[in-house]
Amino acid sequence: MPKKLLVLTFMLLSTLILSISPYVSAQRIFIRFAGWSAGPTEVKNYKIMIEKFMEKNPDIAVKYEVITQMFHENILASFGAGVAPDVFYVDSSWAPIFIEKGALYPVSEIASSEFIEQFYEFLLEPFKGKDGKLYGLPKDWSMLALFWNKNLFARAGLSRPPDTWEELEEFAKQITEKTGKPGLAIYLGGFNRYMPVALSNGAPKPWFEKPEDGVWFDNPKVRETLEWYINLYLKGKVKREEEGLKPYVVSPADVGAGWLGDAFGKQEVAMVISGNWMIPFLADQFPDFKFGKDWDIAPVPRGDVSRATIAYTVILGINSRTEHPEAAWKFIEYLLGKEGQEFLVVKLGHTLPSIKGFEKHPDLWPQHAKTLSFKYDQMIVFLWGPKSGELESRFSDTMAAAMRGEISIDEALETMKLIVAEVYGE
């Protein structure tokens, strides 16, 4: 018995040593890369790219870690425990916190300016620190556009998508009258989805970094547009149902859908305003619902002053405490360069490439190419200040309460002002 025990212990120890030896072998640098996953294909493609990178750079080993849920919370906790990965995704709305706290390594100190110049300029803006340094480069991006169902439009006697916000509401009503299906789906809350309405009607771009910055909500344009947006749901759904009428605006849950893409793909609603991430979802989950024939994309409706949309982006950041910034940079340079983006973004078709020059690439999906062709007067990145994540979540809760009719528009505006004061006051 003891002999067996000894043999077993020996075997266990040797497997342990053998299994970790590739990572500890001399001269080989070992970096950890963490991201979330937009599906199995993305994970598979990343693995392929990582293999290729390691073939080209035999002195660097990359360990890919997929965190499927609550990504930024996980990364923060790993910082707290001192085991954060060397390279990781950072969403634009979380970036200021990571930059302000010194968690990210300034890439502008390590990257060549030619490399940085390849990127769309407006996508880099949010990742610049107060010191003017750049703290990350976007891996891809998406923007809001209007998705419309051609079949439902035709049944309602409409042949083109709405061009203004007023038309959006009118068309939604008309579609509901003629087809019985809700014309438009929006989220309950969703401060970022309301933003194009505000900007296109002349409200200034919001920026909250001090307790007093809540005065943005005192702007008459903000009040007017927020009231219109909240009323879309309050009048289009809540009040309509109280009168026993069919709603012309719904939230995805109202039609048994998980999110806007789901509601649109199931053809339960005729219009949604959503981002490029919806395109691969529709292709994958609703293969019979064809782009061009059954549905199409149009620019986000225009306001009185201009046409505006919101861009969403994610950067690959380098941990400021990494022992191997050069190796981490080499890896990022490979993933974000022409070769990496061509494979990971353009061919995969999930989102838009963050470097210029792919607009006419033959592999760029036509749906994505179409969104790139729209002209906007204002395109701002999803970012409202250093604590964007918290603000977005609490503004959205407030908007949702107003949309359900629990609080008035004035109460909502006042509450949001107080939230700004509280978030930056303590």
Binding site: A77, F79, S393, D397, I407
Partner: protein, 315 residues
């Protein structure tokens, strides 16, 4: 080297040490996890509650400031500020209402079910199993199933039509019904678990007491009230205390059924949800720790007072 192994071998071979080592090995795993995830975390939470921290930078001592934030939230809630600005007060208020709904109902239901299962009837074993089954199911899955049942045109409203025609609330989207809906799920999910506790206690009551009572002419209901209930008192206290602890810490059902911000009117918001949001949305782990200590104090005081008042074993 060889000598060393021989020493180890002979040491291990002694019966007493064998037993000692065996025992130690058996409790090692549990003790380790308890120390790390129990005691260490609890002590760390106390430490953290006096700190300002953002996970990335160093911690900064702030004294009682985190507790002040909690108290200010409570104060503002009491003087009537809207729920969107007083998350902790909202969670506190909801969880008290929830506990008052859940604990008496689940205790009562568990007691009745146990008394029924204790009868000598056909298929008693089947009933016992059926009652206990919800207790073994993951609360998240239970919540998902109930979300479906609680829909406006769902099964529950369909059944209600036979008893109360015209009463068809939109359970999950109406702020007056969300918390009761969560409470119903909790009662359904936990009663079975406590039924087993009661059943064990019931079977320990000596038969001759009932026989003596029967000779004195006591019917089944009088026997239940005057023999069963008093003798079950220690178990009732245990069930209520465990129920209160579980109810005050409720997180999973609210997270799934109401969402992280508590659903319409914040009516499904709980203290545990608020602790989570404080730590990971508002990124103030220090305040989250202060809130969890506050929750600990509430649980400790209620259970202590209850045990002190009713917990004395009567023989």
């Amino acid at each position: 080297m060889k000598k060393f192994f021989i020493f180890l071998h002979s040491y291990y071979d002694k019966a007493q040490t064998k037993e000692f080592i065996g025992g130690m090995l058996l409790i090692l795993g549990a003790a380790f996890f308890n120390l790390v995830f129990g005691y260490f975390s609890a002590i760390f939470a106390v430490y953290l509650s006096f700190m300002k921290w953002d996970y990335i930078g160093p911690m900064e001592f702030v004294g009682f400031k985190n507790y002040e934030i909690v108290l200010r939230d409570l104060y503002r809630g009491i003087i009537g500020a809207p729920y969107l600005l007083t998350p902790f007060f909202t969670g506190f208020k909801n969880i008290i209402i929830y506990t008052l709904m859940v604990v008496p109902a689940q205790t009562f239901l568990a007691l009745i079910l146990a008394a029924l299962a204790n009868q000598r009837i056909r298929g008693a074993q089947f009933y016992k199993l059926a009652y206990f089954l919800p207790g073994t199911t993951c609360p998240v899955i239970i919540s998902l199933i109930f979300i479906w049942l609680f829909m406006k045109k769902g099964f529950i409203n369909y059944m209600i039509q036979f008893f109360a025609p015209g009463f068809a609330p939109d359970w999950l989207n109406d702020r007056n019904y969300l918390l009761p809906a969560i409470a119903i799920v909790a009662i359904w999910g936990t009663s079975g678990h406590f039924t087993v506790s009661f059943l064990a206690a019931l079977q320990a009551i000596p038969r001759d007491l009932y026989e003596a009572a029967m000779l004195d002419g006591a019917g089944p209901i009088r026997r239940f009230i005057f023999i069963t209930i008093p003798l079950l008192r220690p178990m009732i206290v245990y069930v209520v205390v465990m129920g209160v602890i579980g109810a005050l810490q409720m997180f999973d059902l609210a997270w799934v059924m109401a969402g992280s911000s508590g659903g319409p009117g914040g009516s499904g918001y709980t203290i545990a949800l608020d602790i989570y949001n404080e730590a990971f949305t508002r990124l103030r782990p220090g305040v989250a720790a202060a809130k969890s200590l506050f929750l600990f104090t509430i649980i400790f005081i209620t259970t202590y007072l209850f045990q002190k008042r009713y917990g004395k074993v009567i023989r």
